[in-house]
């Protein structure tokens, strides 16, 4: 009898204890599209850290690299009044969601964690809607990288190029040696990735900003833009015939397998090299695209936070925002993903040379005002306008009958048409 009472009271006590432990614990549902290799690993780290704080992580991964499928699911969830705590949304799209009035205010956590001091102002501004923090940044990708395979250069007797002229001279030699000079995947976003590096490299950061951020019609349809289009067509001559439709990682694989010499791609390409056990600085080189040294086109992944009803889940959401900005997470995540931490003054000891370069250039370019948002990766303009630019660039790229002059004109008019709401 006594035993029974005792065991019952212990059970009740245990129950009460466990109940008090979950008082502050909520559930965070995080919508993301990090489903492949290194990315999935990164998401798992975040999950571990949140669970260490006592919250439940409800994984809401929707596959599809570009996040198109994820956005479709997100829309239906928001329309039905049941948004997830956080969703992987970046760039001006954060503003579009802000306009819908569904994002929450993170100012209090930003203040207590001193986000204003930790983030460069360009990054901080991207995380705000009408002056209030609504999102937390996880990383910064540099898009204007050029990846090189030194072995292929050596085989063809070509020099590692610093300028566009040198690049084309080297490309001629590589082509003559029967190898592919430029590895390219003929998909609209990849055409635009090469194009934005060319625009930045030939016309400079101020022009880039005027054209792709301010959407100034006179800059879009200008001599400089015509030149950039000419240059884009010239690079096409050094790609192989099978490029159309190729995925970016297959193009990177051409460098890894010593079949091609150069690829224009953001720093996520590094993940492919590392996975193939190639060493930065030895087996492959990372250099800014010609003419873009000291400049930086950024692509920042971030989590936008939605307005929730449940108080416990709200607390968990705040913890999620805090965790994302902690040095521990920023380091682990970016080591896996190939990018650099979004917060300043981090210890970069564990990162490789490319990431260290990237980090130094990031700080420097922010000071020099040569830090610009990536057009090809949805950081510079609304998705409708970006789509219009994609259409023009990819049409020009695939239609040899279209002149560069016509392309510049078409670019200006397509951008104008997409802006009218």
């Amino acid at each position: 009898m006594l035993k029974k009472i005792l065991s019952k009271s212990i059970a009740i006590a245990l129950l009460a204890m466990s109940a008090s432990a979950v008082v502050h614990a909520g559930e965070v549902e995080v919508l993301h599209f990090w489903t492949s290799g290194g990315e999935a690993k990164s998401a798992a780290e975040l999950k571990k850290m949140l669970e260490a704080k006592g919250h439940t992580w409800k994984d809401f991964a929707v596959a599809g690299g570009g996040g198109e499928n994820a956005m479709t699911v997100l829309k239906s969830r928001v329309v039905s009044g049941n948004p997830p705590a956080a969703a992987q949304i970046k760039g001006p799209t954060i503003q579009e969601w802000g306009d819908e009035g569904v994002l929450t205010n993170l100012n209090s956590v930003a203040e207590s964690e001193k986000w204003n001091d930790l983030l460069p102002s360009v990054v901080a501004d991207a995380m705000k809607y009408k002056g209030n923090y609504v999102a937390a940044p996880v990383n910064v990708h540099r898009v204007n990288w050029m990846w090189l395979n030194p072995a292929v250069f050596k085989k063809a007797g070509a020099e590692i190029p610093k300028t566009w002229d040198e690049l084309f001279a080297a490309a001629d030699k590589i082509k003559a040696a029967g190898l592919t000079a430029i590895a390219h995947g003929g998909q609209p976003w990849q055409d635009s990735t090469t194009f934005e590096s060319i625009v930045l490299g030939t016309a400079g950061a101020d022009f880039y900003r005027k054209a792709f951020v301010d959407l100034d019609p006179a800059s879009l349809d200008s001599e400089a833009m015509v030149k950039a289009f000419d240059m884009l067509r010239k690079t096409k001559g050094y790609t192989d015939k099978d490029a159309p439709g190729r995925e970016w990682n297959m193009a990177t694989a051409m460098l890894i397998n010593d079949k091609a010499a150069i690829q224009f791609m953001g720093d996520w390409a590094k993940g492919e090299f590392t996975a193939a056990k190639k060493e930065a600085g030895k087996d492959f080189l990372c250099m800014p695209a010609p003419g873009t040294a000291g400049m930086f086109t950024f692509n920042i992944d971030s989590f936008a936070m939605f307005e929730l009803k449940d108080e416990k889940n709200k607390a968990a959401q705040v913890d999620l925002a805090k965790t994302i900005m902690e040095p521990g997470f920023q380091e682990v995540f970016n080591l896996n993903k190939g990018s650099i931490p979004a917060r300043l003054n981090m210890d970069m000891a564990k990162f490789d040379t490319c990431a260290k370069d990237s980090s130094a250039e990031f700080v420097k370019s922010a000071a020099d005002k040569t830090l610009v948002p990536s057009m090809a990766h949805g950081m510079a303009m609304f998705s409708a306008v970006q789509g219009a630019v994609y259409d023009t660039v990819t049409k020009f790229y695939n239609d040899d009958a279209m002149s560069s002059k016509d392309a510049a004109k078409a670019l200006a008019s397509a951008v104008k048409a997409a802006q009218t709401k």
Partner: protein, 292 residues
């Protein structure tokens, strides 16, 4: 009395749920989409009235014309070639040959695949550096060239090739069933009158299969108009957007670019295209039934 009433009401009761589901989820959503196409919706649906602005933006976009032209090329060639090949194979199979069952299964088998599989397989076959062209180079034909897949002028024709490969076997099965349904005695009578085999086919059998032609046409036409997965897997709409079809256009604008209004407007245009094909058919079918 009660049983009589039950007997009368039962079919309606049983059909009611599917009727309601079809009404809401097909026709209701068509109306909803029509409304969206007249609204100012961008990232999220907005239920306001903006007039014809989305249609103006749709027709001002260069991709609309590309998608419409591609649909015309694809649908015309796809339907005609499928009908021709299907009929030809059916007639050849109808000659009471040995192993007909096996051959029929082989031809019909592609229909069991999803368009995604067909598209991916043909993407590999038609890729110049990987498939057919490379094979020809490897066996010695160095100058052989077949680069339609990566040529923006010709990419849409590769979609026709893959589509025909997938669907002509099915059309063959339809025609074969039709051929077997024709009364033997008519053919016997014609033979006695001294008609040759081609004449019998041309004058008697093929005209007798009018309904089969109609069914095959309707099935192929709607496959062509709603075609999405095949293009996505085979060319991804590329190179550039040269092999865009209305369905891929709609998906891009509504879901990736946050322009739901334009997407809805283009979906309405697709609906109109389907109606233009289906309504005359239904009209003639229903009228002939009433006369019969």
């Amino acid at each position: 009395m009660v049983t009589k009433w039950l007997e009368r009401i039962m079919p309606r009761l049983v059909l009611a749920p599917t009727f309601v589901i079809a009404l809401v989820f097909i026709h209701g959503f068509i109306l909803l989409n029509a409304w969206l196409s007249f609204s100012s919706s961008n990232l999220m649906p907005k239920y306001d009235w903006a007039g014809f602005i989305q249609y103006e933006r749709l027709f001002a976009n260069e991709r609309t014309a590309v998608a419409a032209t591609n649909l015309f090329i694809f649908a015309t060639l796809f339907i005609l070639i499928c009908l021709f090949l299907g009929l030809l194979m059916a007639i050849l199979l109808d000659q009471r040959i040995r192993g007909e069952g096996v051959i029929r299964t082989i031809y019909l088998y592609p229909m069991a695949l999803s368009f995604i599989v067909t598209g991916t397989a043909w993407k590999w076959i038609l890729n110049p550096g990987l498939g057919f062209e490379k094979l020809m180079h490897d066996i010695g034909f160095e100058t052989f060239q077949f680069d339609w897949l990566v040529n923006s002028e010709m990419a849409i024709y590769t979609v026709v090739i893959a589509g025909v490969w997938q669907s002509s076997g099915f059309v063959m099965a339809l025609f074969l069933a039709g051929l077997r349904g024709i009364d033997e005695s008519i053919i016997k009578a014609a033979q006695i009158d001294g008609a040759s085999l081609p004449t019998i086919y041309r004058k008697i059998i093929i005209p007798g299969m009018r309904p089969v032609f109609f069914s095959a046409f309707i099935i192929l036409a709607h496959i062509a108009i709603k075609s999405f997965d095949l293009v996505m897997a085979l060319t991804g709409g590329g190179p550039g957007y040269s092999s865009d079809l209305p369905a891929t256009f709609m998906y891009t604008f509504a879901f990736t670019r946050g322009q739901i209004g334009i997407g809805a407007a283009s979906a309405m245009m697709m609906l109109m295209t389907v109606m233009a094909v289906i309504v005359p058919y239904l009209y003639s079918e229903l009228r002939s039934q009433r006369h019969a």
